[in-house]
């Protein structure tokens, strides 16, 4: 009963957040709506007993990706969307088709099958098990991942920072 109520509240918030995110002309408002969507999604992950994924959702998506998008948008010129320019929005038709097709393709076969598959007993703490697995079998991929992240950071800085040609001490507008 209570999880039913929680599910509908979280789903409503998620759908509203997603709709606002794509419909607001002010991009900054759009990002905040997207953050709302991420938070509701994290709640839905909790309901699926995937507490690690929920924590990652909050840590990375609400925390970092949202901030990154805000900064990226504030780097652009017109963020408020009131300059009457509009991007070509003809993609909405295919977007709608995809939005309808995805749940149909994913959900219809199991629903038509009748018998719901018996899920395996959910672990009490997924993070703990993941940690043991990570350290037992996936140490080398973990270190490779660290290299990849470092490479990503250095690459991003090299691209965004550009060649060091700016004479020191020259004032740039904030």
């Amino acid at each position: 009963m209570i999880e039913g109520v929680a599910f509908y509240i979280l789903s409503t918030v998620a759908v509203l957040g997603a709709l606002l995110a794509v419909s607001r002309r002010n991009l900054v408002h759009g990002v905040f709506a997207l953050l709302l969507f991420f938070a509701a999604l994290s709640g839905l992950f909790v309901m699926l007993m995937a507490d690690y994924v929920a924590a990652v959702q909050v840590l990375v998506y609400v925390g970092a990706v949202g901030i990154l998008q805000l900064f990226a948008i504030m780097l652009t010129e017109h963020v408020t969307g009131d300059d009457l320019r509009r991007l070509g929005a003809r993609g909405w038709f295919w977007g709608l088709m995809l939005a309808v097709a995805l749940p149909v393709v994913l959900l219809l076969p199991p629903l038509l099958n009748g018998e719901p598959p018996v899920p395996p007993a959910a672990p009490q703490s997924t993070a703990r098990q993941l940690g043991s697995q990570l350290m037992e079998h996936y140490v080398v991929p973990l270190e490779v991942l660290a290299l990849l992240l470092t490479g990503a950071l250095i690459g991003a800085v090299a691209v965004a920072h550009g060649p060091e040609k700016d004479p020191p001490g020259k004032d740039r507008p904030a």
């Binding site: 990706v65 504030m74 780097l75 719901p116 043991s132 990570l134």
Partner: protein, 134 residues
């Protein structure tokens, strides 16, 4: 919910799980309420006598100049990028820390190497002077 989505009913949380996160949900509601209630109250109760000065945005007592929607400098973005990378690092440290009591010394060394490899990125930023504000 079971009658609408049998799939979801089959995987719905058990009682202990639900009870733990119910507390979290209550905390969330209280937190949002704590922020929204004063705004609502002041909107309902406060007397309204707007004037030019009162309507102007408050900026530490100075008169504000220009638009609030300014273009940020690219340096903010670099900070955000570094933040994202180290946030992803935390994603891997978190399960490691949750399982820490069962792990061997090798795991400690492995995570040490992981952190050091990422610290290398930080050292690069530092040497490149990205962290010093110009």
């Amino acid at each position: 919910m079971g009658d609408v989505f049998p799939q979801l009913a089959a995987i719905s949380p058990d009682d202990a799980h639900g009870a733990r996160y119910l507390l979290l949900a209550v905390m969330g509601v209280v937190a949002v309420g704590f922020a929204v209630a004063p705004l609502l109250l002041s909107a309902l109760v406060a007397p309204r006598k707007p004037s030019e000065i009162k309507q102007s945005p408050f900026e530490c007592g100075l008169e504000s100049k220009g638009d609030a929607w300014v273009q940020f400098r690219v340096q903010y973005y670099l900070y955000a990028l570094a933040f994202v990378i180290f946030d992803v690092e935390v994603v891997f440290i978190y399960p490691w820390a949750a399982a820490f009591t069962n792990l061997s010394t090798g795991a400690l060394v492995a995570m040490g190497v992981f952190v050091l490899l990422l610290a290398e990125g930080l050292a690069y930023l530092w040497i490149k002077g990205v962290l010093s504000w110009k």
